[in-house]
């Protein structure tokens, strides 16, 4: 069958967000993939340079709807490092608690979407029904289901009351056995095993070389987690285990995320148990001295990096954001050729792409019928042996 070109996206039910794949397939087998992501580039980095520290936080919060807290926490702790301000311990604990709650709801969201990708909508409905518990907790603690607005330079805006903490504990207990249920379902359900095992395989060397981050890398055995490697907020005095798998396929990523949800639950309980008393914010000056900070954060999808330059004024001189999803796109391009057409949504969803994060920085947009899209040919040519055979033939 001739090589047919199937455009998937930018408006496509599998992808919650605008990404455009030009997939070249022989029958059902993918031979080449061109990716174009810049559909929701909004120019946030430029805007950040013209807003002072209090106004830039709401803007950064809306880079991505699922990991809004990640962007603001990462930025705010970078600016605090530049200013030499340290928020009080209670603020650090509250920030870490909201971060782990965000990881919980993001992973549950992903588990549901993963089920939806293979047409298993019951899993979507069950995981998202339980996700409402986390959303309720977040709404009680911060006032909003998404875009919580807890962070400001110097600390947090809202305090936790005792009955919020008690209700949160009750919800954590019900969620605990639900997670056991997901772990079983994800491992026993025949269609999930069929569709996830052996798909989008990435060896440890490939994962490292292609710069994959977060659960996608940890599923291939890469033992890296910024919460432990470059600890921030309240993570130094919290005990948790970095989850890794060896299989490196979509199934391994599912297991990593499910076990990470259980770890996050443990962290939340520890944080609530020994929440220190005291103020929730420190007085921060209006302007930041001339400084140059690299701030890293373990977002639900992986390592998020902010390079922040301040020049003594009340706003940022330069803010360069590298999001986890962009780092993972390279691995998708390397693992998809040779897979089935039906696997595209599964493999793409497996890195849990957050395109709003990524699309501020993006990947090439190829026009018309130019024979080869150099970027991917060249990328694949980079020593990944199993593609060498096919590239010579096609």
């Amino acid at each position: 069958m001739a090589e047919i070109m199937i455009p998937i996206g930018p408006q496509h039910p599998a992808l919650k967000e605008p990404v455009n794949f030009k997939v070249f397939a022989e029958g059902e087998i993918i031979t080449r993939l061109e990716l174009d992501l810049s559909y929701n580039h909004r120019g946030i980095e430029k805007a950040a340079e013209s807003r002072d520290f209090t106004r830039v936080v709401p803007l950064l919060e809306r880079i991505c709807g699922i990991c809004s807290h990640s962007h603001t926490t990462n930025f705010v702790k970078g600016v605090e490092e530049a200013m030499g301000v340290t928020p009080p311990p209670r603020a650090q604990y509250i920030r870490t608690l909201i971060a782990e709650l965000e990881r919980l709801h993001s992973h549950m969201l992903w588990l549901g979407v993963g089920g939806h990708e293979i047409g298993f909508n019951t899993l979507l409905m069950w995981t998202w029904r339980d996700r409402e518990d986390i959303q309720d907790t977040l709404e009680e603690m911060t006032g909003n289901r998404v875009n919580y607005g807890t962070n400001k330079v110097g600390g947090v805006r809202r305090d936790l009351t005792q009955d919020q903490i008690d209700r949160a504990h009750k919800r954590f207990d019900t969620l605990e056995e639900r997670f056991q249920g997901y772990a079983e379902m994800a491992t026993q359900n025949p269609t999930i095993r069929e569709r996830f095992q052996g798909v989008g395989k990435l060896t440890r060397e490939q994962a490292l070389a292609l710069g994959t981050v977060g659960p996608t890398a940890r599923a291939s055995g890469v033992d890296s987690d910024i919460r432990r490697d470059d600890p921030y907020c309240a993570y130094p005095d919290v005990k948790f285990q970095v989850v890794t798998e060896e299989s490196g396929d979509v199934f391994g990523r599912t297991l990593v995320r499910v076990r990470e949800m259980m770890e996050s639950l443990k962290i939340c309980r520890q944080l609530l148990a020994d929440l220190p008393e005291g103020p929730i914010a420190a007085k921060a000056p209006r302007t930041a001295p001339k400084a140059d900070v690299i701030s890293r954060y373990e977002a639900p999808r992986g390592e998020l990096v902010h390079t922040i330059l301040t020049d003594g004024s009340d706003h940022v001189a330069r803010l360069d954001i590298r999001t986890p999803t962009l780092a993972n796109w390279t691995s998708v391009a390397a693992s998809l050729p040779g897979a089935h057409l039906a696997d595209i949504p599964v493999v793409v969803a497996a890195i849990d792409p957050c395109l709003s994060c990524t699309s501020r920085v993006t990947v090439v947009d190829i026009h018309g019928r130019k024979p080869a899209s150099y970027s991917w040919d060249e990328l694949r040519a980079w020593g990944i042996d199993r593609h060498a055979g096919r590239r010579r033939r096609s």
């Binding site: 810049s38 580039h41 120019g43 980095e45 430029k46 805007a47 340079e49 013209s50 807003r51 106004r55 490292l208 070389a209 292609l210 710069g211 890296s224 432990r228 490697d229 470059d230 600890p231 993570y235 130094p236 005990k239 690299i294 890293r296 390592e303 990096v305 390079t307 330059l309 706003h315 001189a317 330069r318 360069d320 590298r322 962009l326 780092a327 796109w329 390279t330 501020r360 920085v361 993006t362 990947v363 090439v364 947009d365 190829i366 026009h367 899209s373 150099y374 970027s375 040919d377 060249e378 990328l379 980079w382």
Partner: protein, 159 residues
């Protein structure tokens, strides 16, 4: 439990001194300023001797008369080493490192679009971030690109 190991400043400087001055903010933050033409050797040396296997970020800053490119790398020792070069504003050219660091293939494309830096030897340096109908040669993240006054009252006009 934190494992912040970091590398002593001495080993970093011994590895990278031939390329440029090495500074170390703390055990986990080191940077070196190298000349654009021997950027590739510096990166190669850093990766080999300091065992930096993870490419963290390609940060780009418009410092007025030049563009500063920062290749930030890290490894199992958790230290961040950033190899920096400055490119003249008039003709910002540098050799592409997409073969040394595969993710750079993507990051360089973004920098080309937003700053206009040309990466020689890069296979597909076409339009990346911006819409198809965005005028050629206009690079929004440069300081001299003025966004028309931001519509939000109180926010400063474009910088």
């Amino acid at each position: 439990m934190s494992l912040a190991l970091g590398i002593p400043a001495s080993t970093v400087s011994s590895a990278l001194r031939p390329f440029g001055p090495v500074e170390s903010a703390r055990a986990t933050r080191h940077h070196v300023l190298v000349d654009p033409k021997d950027l590739r050797e510096a990166l190669g040396a850093a990766r080999r001797e300091l065992k930096l296997d993870h490419f963290v970020q390609l940060a780009t800053i418009d410092v007025g008369d030049a563009f500063e490119l920062r290749y930030i790398l890290t490894g199992s020792h958790r230290a961040l080493v950033s190899v920096r070069t400055r490119l003249p504003r008039a003709a910002p050219h540098v050799a592409s490192v997409h073969d040394l660091l595969p993710p750079a293939g993507l990051y360089e494309r973004q920098v080309h679009d937003l700053f206009g830096v040309v990466f020689d030897g890069h296979p597909g340096l076409s339009r990346l971030v911006l819409a198809e109908d965005w005028p050629e040669g206009v690079h929004p993240l440069r300081k001299d690109f003025l966004v028309e006054a931001a519509a939000r009252p109180g926010a400063k006009g474009g910088t």
